[in-house]
Symmetry: C2
Subunit: 99 residues, 2 copies
């Protein structure tokens, strides 16, 4: 394998918005759609599309519930997603210089 | 600004192949097309396209010369490219968890 093989970077995570979502979920444990939207700085539509992709890959879970009778979606990393995210970061660390 | 604002990540660098190119050039100082191709693990065509994008952005320079009468292209980071790459890494470090 070459030293800087870009194909080793998980494309599903690497997209800027999905990377931001994964990073937010990795640090926040669970979070609502609204909180995630604020953290990532995305529009509703864009965020929904990318959350769905991560959900389809079983990287994240969504739980729909009610708080004060209002529907709310709670997102969290799955074990598979956490593993993929850790592998992504580890590979990134091998190719990027450390300051 | 939100904590994980994906728009802060320089899109020009973030593409997987361009990130690999920038990382390789940041560590190797100067390198030929052939060496870069081996390091990054890209095809000629794909590598050329992305090198041109980085060159157009003045992130890298290319110098065409001859070695043993064979034409050779030597690539290096420009100061603007190094600055952008450092800013990219710094922002990445703020959003990613450290192991």
């Amino acid at each position: 394998m070459s030293d800087f093989n870009y194909q080793q970077l998980d494309d599903l995570i690497h997209s800027r918005i999905r990377l931001a979502i994964m990073a937010a979920l990795a640090s926040l444990e669970t979070t609502s759609f609204k909180q995630l939207k604020q953290a990532v700085g995305a529009t509703d539509g864009n965020l929904s599309i990318h959350l769905k992709k991560l959900e389809d890959a079983e990287y994240i879970t969504v739980e729909k519930t009610f708080i004060d009778r209002k529907p709310i979606s709670i997102y969290a990393l799955c074990p598979k997603g956490r593993e993929a995210f850790n592998a992504y970061i580890q590979y990134l660390e091998t190719i990027l210089p450390t300051n």
